[in-house]
Symmetry: C2
Subunit: 441 residues, 2 copies
């Protein structure tokens, strides 16, 4: 790779080569049967070079020297055809990395057999727990990735690691009642996925869903489950923390650093090294050291996250949040593992305190949220009715609101925390919001 950088340096003022090797095994369930097992592996190399402030970028799905060389030449040709990006400053310089976590090599060799067995077991357990349950869907997967990022300023970092995940979707059919699809899941850096726990939690939710209650317009305490929070925040809130949006004036948080934007209960940071993280990277997609970036501390907004390009334009430093998009080859500002800090009491204790309210497991329509102002309109489904400290049934309702108003209503976070490999990986507790205005459906 070093000789390829030397070769590329002759064609560019500065250049970066990033190599990603991956291996994925997976297995799927459809309607109570294993529908597929797969094994995939491959390599992708991305060359990003700058000549006279003109950018060239080429992608090739190989780490073969000859093909990478062709990609370097392709990128150089492209740079020659593009016009100058006057905003360009430079690629990152080497930084000081944290100590790399020990990779779990068991994941590198995992076979889909393990996943098939896991899923067969999950189907058996679910249908034993409740004969009215159909395992409508599900998947287990193990991924392994090796990344090397090297640039002409001396950045050279190699990282490897893997993760395993597992989810099921149950539907209960009892009498005339058909429940909505009920999900549960687990994700870890080893193969000890909690199949029994996932099935138990999902079946419990199906049981709640058999008893359907109407909803009405009212203001109630609402507990959002991790999956609901990840869905809503990924679209309505997290984009607003991007430095690119600060520069482009498309975040409502400009000039609000130091202001209270959430209830005391909310501390939110990005950190790939959180114990539950499934991807503890020491460097981001362009080789900048990752770190713990606090974004909201006890309700107070602390600042934005940056990649190298936008940070330099703004006159600040990358926070290690340059994420590589393997399809476009480019670097976008993104999160490694968004953590909402957990609280002291269990979810059960939090529910026990609610006289009348809801526990929302998932939102539909979160992708229509507007991160420019935080407005959202979502359907809470599945949502569970809490009466006198106990879940007594399920319901469906709408919440149309603003994520910043919602954040101020955040009153408590649970002691349990779960990691979700969603659009952005998030590690979050259950969060209770007070006086949430809901619309009956």
């Amino acid at each position: 790779m070093e000789n390829l950088i030397r070769y590329a340096e002759k064609l560019f003022d500065e250049v970066e080569i990033a190599v990603y090797r991956s291996r994925d095994v997976s297995a799927s369930v459809e309607l109570n049967e294993i529908s597929m097992a797969s094994a995939r592996s491959g390599a992708v190399t991305i060359v990003r070079g700058i000549k006279d402030k003109r950018l060239g970028l080429a992608i090739v799905d190989s780490d073969d020297e000859k093909r990478v060389k062709e990609a370097i030449e392709q990128a150089a040709k492209m740079a020659g055809l593009n016009s100058r990006d006057e905003k360009w400053v430079s690629l990152p310089e080497p930084g000081k990395y944290r100590e790399k976590p020990e990779p779990n090599y068991e994941l590198k060799e995992a076979s889909s057999d393990v996943l098939v067995e896991m899923l067969v077991n999950a189907i058996k357990l679910a249908r034993k727990d409740d004969e009215h349950v159909i395992v409508a869907g599900g998947e287990g997967g193990v991924s392994w990735e090796e990344r090397r990022i090297i640039n002409s300023h001396g950045v050279d970092v190699f990282q490897e690691g893997g993760a395993a995940f597992f989810f099921i979707e149950l539907v209960g059919k009892k009498g005339n009642t058909v429940t909505p699809g009920i999900f549960d899941f687990d994700a870890r850096r080893d193969l000890n996925l909690d199949v029994e726990g996932v099935v138990e939690k999902a079946v419990q939710k199906v049981r709640w869903a058999y008893s359907v209650s109407p909803s009405r317009n009212e203001e109630v305490p609402v507990i959002l489950a991790p999956w609901a929070i990840a869905g809503l925040f990924s679209y309505a809130l997290l984009p607003a923390f991007s430095g690119e949006r600060l520069v482009k004036e498309t975040t409502p948080l400009a000039d609000r650093v130091g202001e209270r934007i959430a209830g005391d209960a909310i501390t939110l940071y990005d950190d790939p090294f959180h114990p539950l993280s499934i991807d503890p990277v020491v460097a981001d997609g362009e080789g900048v050291p990752t770190r713990r970036n606090v974004i909201i501390e006890d309700g107070v907004f602390k600042g934005f996250i940056w990649d190298n390009y936008w940070a330099r334009i703004h006159g600040t430093e990358s926070t290690g949040n340059g994420k590589r998009d393997l399809r476009s080859g480019g670097i976008n500002i993104g999160f490694h593992n968004v953590v909402i800090e957990n609280g002291k009491r269990s979810l059960e204790d939090m529910i026990a305190d609610i006289e009348h309210g809801y526990f929302v497991d998932g939102f539909q329509g979160a992708h229509t949220s507007n991160p420019d102002n935080g407005n959202f309109a979502v359907t809470a489904n599945p949502a569970f009715l809490i009466e006198n400290g106990e879940v007594v049934g399920s319901s469906v309702f709408l919440i149309a609101g603003n994520v910043y108003e919602l954040l101020k209503q955040a009153a408590e976070t649970s002691s349990e925390q779960r990691v979700m490999p969603f659009r952005n990986t998030m590690t979050t507790p259950y969060v209770m919001f007070e006086n949430v205005r809901i619309a009956g459906k």
Copy 2:
């Protein structure tokens, strides 16, 4: 491959091995600059075996004998763990194929250089035609695919071929007016993509879009452009033609064969051999011969399309519409190239006849359509206002309706036809619908 089938036959009652080798080169534009060039290639092998009516399916991203053998064993293990599918009849028998079209080997060797040049030229042309235009996005691509499907009943078919496509998205900024994103595109089985024509058409639409007119509630003639038709029909109409939905009773067309469901002007069929088709396959994803399947003839519904599995359950024959999903490995009922027959007059002549109406280039929100009943609610954007036989500006409005009511309002199709590599590949003319109820926005 034959020896692998022999090996697999020992483990299954019947078995199929499908190998897909592909090569793709592409280049992209973002904000007037070439943002990326890429070259990817790979192989995927899918093994589908049945033992005692139990299905096993394994995917491996290789055509290497050793790895395919592992996939065969994986599939056999899975079949052993699954329960019986009592509905299973058998894999297809060999059929008689049409003569294969001569592949264009120029596409097999294409380099992304050609695409980069094409895009650079498009940017230059667009900005020369109209200095207020930004080429917000765009992509050019050339793909090549080699497929072999072989099964234990004697099916053994090899096909190869390629296609090239090209699209641009323009935004015009003039005074305080910012137009919506305006698309145009071309797709062919050779490299003679009509860059100048695409740019000219897109720039023309941007010019129309500078002059924005309000819309109001009314009933008007509306001409839908191919892109709008492909968007709406892919979600609201085409799924209803699937034999699987007939069996599952989720199509509104059951018992309606022979009935008039559209205006006389509408003849709709599926045929990979249409001259504009970009994928003229002689066999579908499970090796069944493809053919011209007429679905609507002069407004009359003629019948459903089938893959092998659902056809045998229904007691009929596959129509050659088993499409392979390379992610799940499975076969789904799908289309090769949905053709709406063209008419006699040009789009220009059709527009010249309209005193007051609209020409709709694209729909937003078509994916929310309900194929169970044909209901849809979409935003027409970009839409262009026609007054006294000429396009005079642009507008935005809503259409909430039912696709079968719309079909009956179809009055004329243009002589021009265009092929769109959309969700389903469609080859369609511009279609004029009478008395369409629109809601102003």
